[in-house]
Symmetry: D4
């Protein structure tokens, strides 16, 4: 009954596919498309992943916020054709690769990741995998929480040894960790608050607000649980530094 | 035209003075009355101070949130009769003493006070002077902010050397300092957030929320800028410990 | 496929276990580690409990916010080896003990607990069990709500008779109870708001805000439902008093 | 240049005065018009008061939230013609009476007013004067704050002796007082929160929220500082009871 | 293992039952106890209802916020012994009556109830049943929403004909209805906002705020969905009027 | 047991059906009734749809926020009698038509709909179907998000070619799209924010606030996800323009 | 010291004036530029007005939120050269006209304006003057507040008689008026909330939220006090209707 | 009366100056200290500036949020000794230089600054001057607002021509500009929201929230008006890139 469908008119005129793709985005901005699976049905997510896999030059597609159902759908539909579906250690972030996928081109950029507590790991995975897909080397230390400052020394020494170009600090309850770190290093710090905690200021709100309030210049933030945003910006920074190193 | 005044009826019946006083409060709870001057006219504040000075056994009265006008009123009205009016170094907190005032009885309790930044000093004064009026010894270190952790060592060593029974940590932008401190000491820590900062989470909100969210057990909080509350509770704790020491 | 795992690099360097432990925390701060089970899978919670049981000197481990699934997992995994798993009367808080567990060393500190209503009991359990693990004697009276002031007399008399060193007042809808109590006793009061209530100010927000607003000095607060924080701070206070009594 | 004035067209058609008056409101609802002076210029307030004085049958007009400038304007303009301008003890509320004004008709309704602290007095004045203009007998006790429960006994005894038909409880920091009172009396209680306090929940927000949250049925509320609303509703209740008494 | 149970000590001393009851509350305040079932297990709710049924003089017990499970539990446990379990037309509110229950004593008080829309019915039931248990006659008109003002005429005429002593106006999306009604009647109006609506201001927040903001004196409010509070206060008002009528 | 039912009295007097209908609303305001299914049981929704179908002149009824259960109930109850039940492409919005339904009268009004991203489609469907039922021609382009401005050109050209009388811009994360569009067209723009996004400002709040803040005059908004409101207002505008065109 | 000025570089390259103007905006969108004076110095505002007066084809410039200082500056600088400076009856909105200014071209569009109370007049002026500058005929009725519904009849009859194409309803405390009106007319309604009121939901927040929540389709809103936005959109609607009438 | 001063004890022990300085901060983190003047007295600000001028190697000191009084104090105290005091074009940000000050060492880093509207200029100055002090080349274009997209082309071309390493986008009402820009460039973008706007979401809140919500990866944010934070992080990024270029 097409005359009832308000889509009918314009869609024909535009000749548009139901899902728009922006094939030039990565070339234009240096950041790959990531399929955001939250609130999408497994079927819709699968369609987006397949479309992305087809046109992505390296045959790779990242998916964020994937539920167990989405992972199952991806595996049962993609693996028979030889594709690989990898799930991050703390769930949620998924990498799908065609049978002929190639690894991301190593840029030489170095992104460091510190997490305050065990519950910050999933958001950190999301950031790490995005940076990895953008060709960065990722060094990471987990559970370095602010309560025990002595635990911070080893990770800081390591990120200096690896020559980190930028640091992502992931923290939910210990919202002060990014400020502390940014007072101790001379590279930019990206605060990634996570949605842990309960009561007033819970769900990551206190963490985000205290990162915004910090008096430590050199710290910028992304929204609660936005691992993709933190990882992508960190990689943009690291890749620009690396490009300068390579061509300097 | 008294018949228009709805106060008339009951006031006569109760024989009540327009300002009620609670002469037994300090005996009952161990905390002295403090005159809260914010939003009161100088005249009203003066009346309350005079009433308090008359009946307070040691001839001493603390005033919080006193404006310059209030200080002037207190000085011009009280000093001619031999009283003393002392203003805290960062303003706001005032101590009025009759000519025959006696110092508070030393209890032996020890309260430590750490402030994160220079703008936290006025709230710290308020807390310090209350604890002092309750007979405690107050040790204090200012501007130990969380951004430079190395600055924290000397103050912590000192509060251990002085045998602090409780620590008040005053912080506005560096809302994480109380959590950090409470992970390093074995006495209770009271977080006192202060109304500094701007933007989202400004005015002390981020500081209060991150103190509430902290995963460091051993930390309790009072409202933003509530130096009286922090100082009084700290002194209650220290005084109970000291009493046990003295009579143990 | 380790080359895809951004954990790989640093973890090897640090030689770190996936879950960090802080074995010196209790020695340093006097507060034991508590396993926070909310948002953790039963498997992850179990691993944390087992790690804690192994190294905790008395063979005891507290778990907060445990769901029925977590309790089942703990029981089925730990009890076959002779361990005991106790659940608090109102659920959520769990104590696991090795077969050779020893009771906490009695410190002589006395913590009083008052709850305003029946729905405040679970948060009170959490606080009580933490204080108990820290060696305190806990006296408690439930359902003393502010609406009927006459119900407050017996509990207050009792906490005086038991020589309480500190009082925790647990209240969700009757957010005023902590203020009322702190105006009647001469020991510090810790307000523990609970997440009951609906509508505007529901979920414990009104209770927390009115505890923060109270004009009763001598009252400090923890976040909504933070029984661990209230219990730990109360025990720190009581234990310091008790230590002074014992060594005075 | 009237053609530029977008008011011109319709105003002529409607023949409306620039300020609409609702002469039948008091007859219809039993509540007199009160001139709300906040945000109005002295000149505009004066015009409204004069208009009201002219048509109000008893020659009386209440003004709320009047600044000192408004009071001056009212006095200098109205008193030369023999009118009287009375200001409430704590300011803000003003009663203007024509030279030939008559007192309000006594209805026999009895409204009790309790205030928690000294800063609640101005809002209480507003409520009291409205109830008085509606013909009620007002009994009032100030500064009965919740922190000292013993102070509540005398006022409660008095309101029973006066046969209060309804109680207004005015409270800013002690937001629990209305709940406490409503658990002790068998007449309806109206909570009137006031804008005192600072920090989180300040400005009366915590007081309003805790009145809304209370588990004490029998308590209803008005907005922060809305003395007119509390007084008018209380008088409606009391007057209906009184009418039944008189005609029963 | 009683030595682990922190309840043990005091409970014995107080000889208290695990659930406190306040048998004198109805006598003291005129409002019956209502069992609040939300967040209580069916078993706990049943115990509270049984305890109440035993001691309530008329053999009646009201329950609010009862889920289907709670209703089932009440029916299967109480009906075999001859008790009756009635559920309100829109669910949630339940009346349990012993086999020998007596109807509430008719007071002669008249409570009118208007609802704005169909989704406001459950909260209205709660208010109506409470008022009914307190002996009032309840007149009610549903779905009179503000959008069509002509629909308001019949209900207003009826509440005048029935001589309503007070009006409860229940509204979620049409938060203005209580203001409108209070401008048209000369009895007190209680606004009862309900948790309908979505987006900003949803869940009843806009309704509550606009009732608080209204410039219509004569209107008071209760929290979102608090039918018990609205019904109890309305009945207190109506009953006091009725008592005056009867004894006038 | 009718004497227990507080509905009994008035309902009889009013002779009112349990669900009020407003048969003259469409004639009076030009907007048809839409059955809002959220929070209604399938049975209640079905009853409302049936009542509407019976009296709606064209035999058509729109339902918004219909769950899968509601759709099933509508289908199984209505289709046997020859009715048709159509579900919008992205779910939620449903059109039920009697066997003898007639199409809406074409008014000639033209409504354009732009959506920023794929997750905005369901709210857009709701708006589109309402406008369609009001007789408008709807042109629509999806997924034109603000991040790639070049994607905006084709849709804008099309809405000019179709002579759109008004534009609805649907956006959740890209809250700026409505401002951008309103700076490029000379017809009114209605911003329809949608409840996508997480973290601070999530659920559509940031989108709504930035539409309210925009400095682009010519933009008005409706609440988050209120497709019915956006579609109805757009159609009122377009239909008034079209009527002028037809009768000009 | 130009080398210190970070503006220097790019400004030269762009050849840009310090204040950008958008001379094609009115042609493109049909809405004239309005100078927003809040937060601008009188000098800066004057510069913007002069720039606008020079290039605006009719020699007219509207200014919103002008303080008394700004009005003085405009008058003293512009009037000597023969320009006219008109201030709206309730202040804030100002119209400056060159000596050779021409009146706006009458479009034939009709915009109706209703205000709920006297404090809504300034925001209404702003909307009215913008619509007037866009060539509309403006009919307006003030102070028709929702509390007295009978007051609504005359204005509604008038807006029908004048053939209003759209209605702006301005309301601060009576946030329901727009919903009420939109249920009674068949043209689009724009709700313009104003920043009156105090306490919770004050400053226009309750009014805005209840307009957003309304269940009356046909109502759209602008931000609190945004008279320019309401007036501009209303005029866009009315002008499109009028254009169709003229060319139909 | 030193025995009353709670500062006395510890200060002596620590030998601490009343204002702590962190002379190694710039060496450690690469960011210079900036004196935050808001809320400080002119005298206190002057002291901090003098202390900083003395030890800062280049003899330069930046001050943010300086009021006119602070500027006057700086000028009258510093200029007599040959120092220079420069104020940013839009006020607030001040640079003080000793007579022998040296310019910052040019790093070769390039920071681009775009502002959406005229009111964003002061925050942009703050960011620009900080980046300049850190040795960066700053290119800037003002007033490129999102409403007219065509205005964005020239600035974007310029920042590409200058080889910007990072872009700061300053926006208050047009909170979408940073997202738009980050979709068009391949360098990191820092969103700097500013406190313009009124009504709901005003004061920069809507701008900050919509930057946090954006779906454009590659965008990070700082708090409202935090020009120092945006400038310092941008310079850290640009300087690391430049160092790589120089030593590559």
């Amino acid at each position: 009954m097409p005359e009832l469908d308000p889509f009918a008119g314009l869609a024909a005129v535009l000749g548009a596919a139901p899902v728009h793709v922006d094939p030039h985005r990565q070339a234009r901005t240096g950041v790959p498309e990531v399929v955001y699976a939250a609130g999408k049905s497994p079927r819709l997510t699968l369609a987006a992943v397949q479309a992305l896999l087809e046109r992505q030059p390296l045959g790779r597609a990242l998916i964020s916020r994937a539920s167990a159902e989405v992972v199952d759908a991806l595996r049962s539909e993609l693996e028979p054709s030889g594709a690989t579906v990898l799930v991050a250690p703390n769930g949620g972030t998924v990498l799908a690769m065609r049978a002929d996928a190639k690894p991301p081109l190593e840029t030489g950029g170095v992104v460091a990741l510190l997490t305050a507590g065990a519950s910050d790991a999933a958001a950190a995975d999301e950031a790490a995998w995005v940076a990895r897909e953008m060709g960065c080397h990722v060094v990471r230390a987990d559970d370095v929480g602010v309560a025990g400052l002595h635990r911070l020394e080893a990770p800081l020494r390591l990120l200096r040894e690896h020559g980190a170009d930028v640091v992502i600090v992931v923290a939910g309850m210990d919202g002060a960790l990014p400020s502390v770190v940014s007072g101790l290093v001379d590279v930019p710090v990206i605060g990634l608050p996570t949605s842990v905690g309960y009561g007033l200021g819970g769900g990551g709100v206190a963490a985000l607000l205290s990162m915004l309030q910090t008096c430590a210049p050199g710290l910028v933030v992304v929204n609660i649980d936005n691992g993709v945003g933190a990882g992508a910006t960190a990689a943009l920074i690291a890749n620009r530094v690396a490009a300068a190193r390579n061509t300097g």
